[in-house]
């Protein structure tokens, strides 16, 4: 089977990421899969509004801005997904009465943008030095009419798909997924197949993110050594 962009069914788009490019944020990362690109800036732990203050842990706030137009309920939905995914992965109890703010800017949405946003948030949190339990990685796949499963669908592929499945995993995949959103018209066999594909894809994405973080740290160590 050939896809519009000539990828194989199991092939993800080229990944690209840059860490720590923002000067004002405590940590930042840009994550791109093909033309889907997300920038994330993290502040934390910082002052929290009295209203949001929690006595035993940090409050997590996610703000998402779409590529075009003003934020709407669709973006609120994604914000809530990102927050719930990271709720436990961020070690909130280490920073009581503070705020961890995750700002997400979608630069371009060409499908699987929720997964890209989760991956960007992981990298930005790591870059900000926020203590995490594990690194979170997310992946999306789509079941096309006819039953073929394609990984990392573009907007065009997702629009024509029978169902679209997004999973996010923490470090231990055995504990179950952190986030699941499968929607459309599908059978459980298809769901399970998508689960397996997304789990392996997320592992590969995680390896990519790890090497990006390692690369940045190695570079910084070199700079420290030189001075």
């Amino acid at each position: 089977m050939t896809r519009p962009d000539r990828r194989d069914a199991g092939q993800i788009r080229a990944l690209h990421c840059v860490l720590g490019q923002l000067s004002r944020a405590d940590g930042s990362a840009q994550f791109a899969a093909g033309d889907s690109s997300v920038l994330c800036g993290v502040y934390g732990p910082v002052d929290v509004r009295v209203y949001d203050e929690k006595l035993d842990r940090a409050h997590i706030e996610v703000k998402l801005r779409p590529a075009t137009g003003l934020p709407n309920t669709k973006d609120k939905w994604t914000e809530s997904v990102i927050r719930s995914t990271f709720e436990r992965e961020i070690l909130c109890h280490l920073h009581p009465r503070t705020l961890v703010q995750i700002n997400v800017q979608v630069r371009q949405d060409d499908g699987a943008v929720e997964a890209a946003a989760i991956n960007a948030a992981t990298l930005a949190l790591v870059d900000a030095g926020i203590p995490l339990r594990t690194m979170v990685a997310a992946a999306t796949c789509a079941v096309l009419p006819g039953g073929a499963i394609v990984v990392d669908p573009t907007l065009e592929e997702a629009a024509g798909a029978q169902s679209v499945h997004t999973f996010a995993f923490g470090g231990d995949t055995a504990g179950g997924p952190l986030h699941v959103d499968s929607r459309g018209d599908f059978a459980m066999d298809e769901y399970n197949a998508c689960y397996d594909i997304c789990a392996t894809t997320a592992e590969r994405v995680l390896a990519f993110m790890r090497s990006a973080v390692e690369g940045k740290i190695a570079k910084e160590a070199l700079l420290v050594g030189a001075s």
Binding site: Q21, L22, S23, R24, A25, D35, L39, G41, Y43, V46, D47, V48, R49, E61, K63, R65, A67, T68, G69, L70, L99, Q101, N103, Q105, R107, Q108
Partner: protein, 272 residues
């Protein structure tokens, strides 16, 4: 999140002392612009501008819509620029600072009628193009206004909309893969150049963050490539000598030429 506090007295005093000797904290001359980097793509109408730490992303997109009832032969230009906490901690929309910056950018692009709206008409009274310009402030390292205006103009020039052929009452909108998309018709390219004042004769061009937080007044000159004055903005602060204003305009004229050249270069580079 709680908004940040300004620079410390020591920092401010150091900055002013150095400035009195003609030295800026980042080593620039007082009328030097920071290194301007303009990157386009990957899609049409997407441009990111860097002025050192300052980063602004502009996106132009379009769709077909119905015209406004009182302007049946004109397309619509929609504009949105909101500062968010992405750019700096505690920044929120609708604060005085946010409104000052976004109003300025909106005035420059929309009210100076940079985009030819009549060229956006497809079928009078039926279908017109709606062009959206979204400006995302990513990193606030000072002088967001200039960066935003450069990004906006470059994005409008970089943008291509699908081609349309009108056959009687039917308008056919060609997919971009089918027929080459066409650029927007742009009347002129107003660009902002901002100055910071520190009292007396101390003037600097293109303030960085620390300078912006320390300045006592600022002044923005908006000029187009034809060397015409499009807007001037000085909102309060210390009084200025008219001579200083003229001097600023002279400097801005030279800078706008340079900036326009940079934009042309960037557009050429990504077209190649």
């Amino acid at each position: 999140m709680v908004a940040e506090i300004g620079p410390s007295n020591v920092e401010a005093a150091f900055l002013l002392e150095s400035l009195a000797k003609g030295i800026r904290v980042d080593g620039r001359g007082i009328y030097d612009y920071r290194r301007l980097k303009i990157s386009c793509g990957p899609t049409h109408g997407m441009v990111e501008v860097h002025l050192r730490q300052t980063r602004v992303l502009a996106r132009v997109s379009c769709e077909v819509t119905r015209p406004l009832p009182d302007r049946p032969t004109e397309g619509i230009v929609q504009f949105s620029a909101e500062l968010s906490s992405m750019a700096a901690p505690g920044l929120e929309s609708k604060t005085a600072q946010e409104v000052a910056i976004t109003r300025m950018v909106e005035r420059v692009i929309r009210q100076s009628r940079a985009v030819d709206t009549e060229a956006l008409c497809i079928l009078a009274g039926e279908k017109v193009w709606l062009v959206r310009l979204d400006i995302h402030f990513l990193d606030h390292g000072g002088n967001l206004i200039d960066a935003a205006s450069i990004a906006a103009i470059a994005a409008l020039k970089h943008f291509r909309r699908p081609d349309v052929t009108v056959d009687g009452e039917e308008a056919i909108i060609h997919d971009v893969r089918e027929r080459n998309p066409v650029p927007l018709s742009i009347h002129h390219t107003p660009i902002c150049v901002s100055f910071g004042f520190f009292g007396g004769e101390l003037i600097v061009l293109d303030t960085n963050l620390l300078e912006e937080q320390t300045q006592v007044s600022n002044f923005t000159v908006t000029l187009n490539a034809h060397r015409e004055l499009c807007a001037l903005n000085k909102a309060g602060g210390i009084p200025l000598n008219p001579k200083q204003i003229q001097r600023c305009i002279q400097i801005a004229l030279a800078k706008v030429d340079e900036i326009n050249e940079k934009i042309q270069e960037a557009l050429k580079a990504c077209a190649a």
